[in-house]
């Protein structure tokens, strides 16, 4: 019964909050408006926007030494999570049956294990550094810790339910997923959608000024 509730009304409610919340936040960002730039543009903004979108995926020269840890652990986590979310067999089945109506070939088991291990290790290392580094500890807020811990819990409960042998374990995982979906639009996890806008805006603004950012 609990599984029916979690995969039924709670899932629909949390998905609705997620879609509505994310849309609202994005509209809020896009309609915020800026004071007009009265200077003569040196060039179009869109090449800079496109360039910066990709160039910020690597640390700028001079910052490599301090950012290597975050770069490596960050990619470990994000790539691992991407493979898990979209190519783990149970997720492919869920998306096909409950969301999209079509599916795709899931990742082989060995790739799933590799992705899961990278994701867990990357997230744990990033959060530990946030807690241990004095500067990062001081500038971290509740949102930073909650996002990391909640994501870890979702992944952990998913790992517990891997055998797909007990409804209770699947229900716990779905419950944590629903909690994450509800929390998502109100948290820094929105960077998953806003980083395009952030990088693009910076690149466009700099390109308009004639600066290669």
């Amino acid at each position: 019964m609990f599984l029916e509730f979690v995969e039924g009304p709670l899932w629909y409610a949390s998905a609705a909050i997620f879609i509505f919340g994310v849309s609202l936040r994005l509209i809020e960002v896009l309609t915020r408006g800026m004071p007009p730039d009265l200077s003569a543009p040196r060039g179009p903004g869109w090449p800079g926007a496109l360039r910066t979108l990709f160039s910020r995926s690597w640390t700028a020269e001079g910052f490599t030494r301090g950012a290597t840890f975050h770069l490596v652990a960050g990619y470990m986590f994000h790539i691992g999570l991407f493979v898990l979310l979209l190519f783990a067999a149970p997720h492919v089945v869920f998306l096909e049956e409950r969301v999209l109506g079509f599916g795709w070939t899931p990742a082989p088991h060995w790739l799933f294990i590799l992705a899961a291990d990278l994701a867990f290790a990357g997230l744990a290392l990033l959060w530990l550094r946030r807690v241990m580094h004095p500067v990062m500890r001081k500038i971290s807020t509740f949102d930073d810790h909650a996002a990391a811990i909640l994501t870890f819990i979702v992944m952990f409960t998913g790992c517990m339910a891997l055998l797909m042998s007990h409804e209770s374990l699947r229900a716990i995982h779905m419950l944590t997923v629903c909690l994450l979906l509800i929390y998502f639009p109100f948290s820094r996890l929105m960077h998953a959608f806003t980083f395009f806008l952030s990088r693009g805006f910076t690149g466009a603004a700099m390109a308009r000024k004639g600066v290669q950012a």
């Binding site: 290597t68 899961a116 291990d117 290790a121 530990l128 241990m132 004095p134 790992c159 339910a161 042998s165």
Partner: protein, 365 residues
Amino acid sequence: MSDIAAPSPRLRYRRAFRISVLLLAFVLIVPLVPYGLAATGVQLTNPGADLWREVRQRVQPYEATTQVKDIDGAALINTWGETWREFRSDRLVPIGGGILLGTLGLIAAFYLIRGRIRIEGGRSGELVPRFSVNQRVVHWFAAGLFVILGLTGLVLLYGRYVLIPLLGPEGFSATAAACKEVHNLFGPIFPFAIVGLMVLFGRGNRFRWLDVKWFIKAGGLFGHRIADSGYYNGGQKTWFWMTVLFGLLISISGLVLDFPLFGQGRELMAAAHVVHAVIAVVFIAASLGHIYIGTLGMEGASESMTRGYVDGNWAKEHHNLWYAEMEKAGMVGVDENALEEVRRHDDIDFRGFGSPLPKGGDTGH
């Protein structure tokens, strides 16, 4: 031919009835014969018993061939499996449980007798940098993995005895399924954590004669005897090398068990399980001492791994030679919020703070 009369319907009926009765008697009575014979003490031998006894007792490795494409395909009976099962249920489980509970009892007794080891001179308020950000991140990463793997492993070994009375069979089934998957998924990460510990804590962990003297004085744990110690004392060095050795052995045996895709036979898997389980029990028991001393057992110890700094008096009492080196280098009484200290945290020199040791080794203490 026409003179031979066909049997009458009544005769046919009687014949069929007799045959049916005989068949029924045969089906009902014949299976009872062995019981009857057993009751009378007559021994009936299983005609296949001799064959299977010979199969079970034959010398290994097998010379039989089979078309089955499996490393154990030619094995009709695996006798070593029973040996392994008996070891697990009759020795590993009770002796391992005794080791773990005994260790907990010893620690409790030590705490009741000795109490918490206080900083005798009280806190000086002066901070001495002890472990860097990288060292602490890797330590807690390994510790977190160890706790997850240890707890899930203990559920797999002792769950049926401890958890079934609490959770019932269905509850334990779900718990065990969850713990098995978590243990198998987090296991492959553990070797990397061990390698990280080796890299970041290896320097300064060579055993010296100083450490022998430290052991003779029991590390100064009893009474007020001061045991000289450098950056790491003898106990810490022992724990470090135990972690490296046990960690690598448990990782290798765990990977053999977790990925049976490379031709591992039953015997290799059983042997890997024995190694894995025995080392795990000893490892967990030893870790209880490490956790105790680092938290409840010794005032001021936990700060080294949470803040990265220790109190000056704590350093003087427990690592006096290292304290002297730090004092000489002007690193006693630092301000952890000072820009210089904060910048040092960003230093990705993997050696971390440590003692200001000359390159190539420690100062020879």
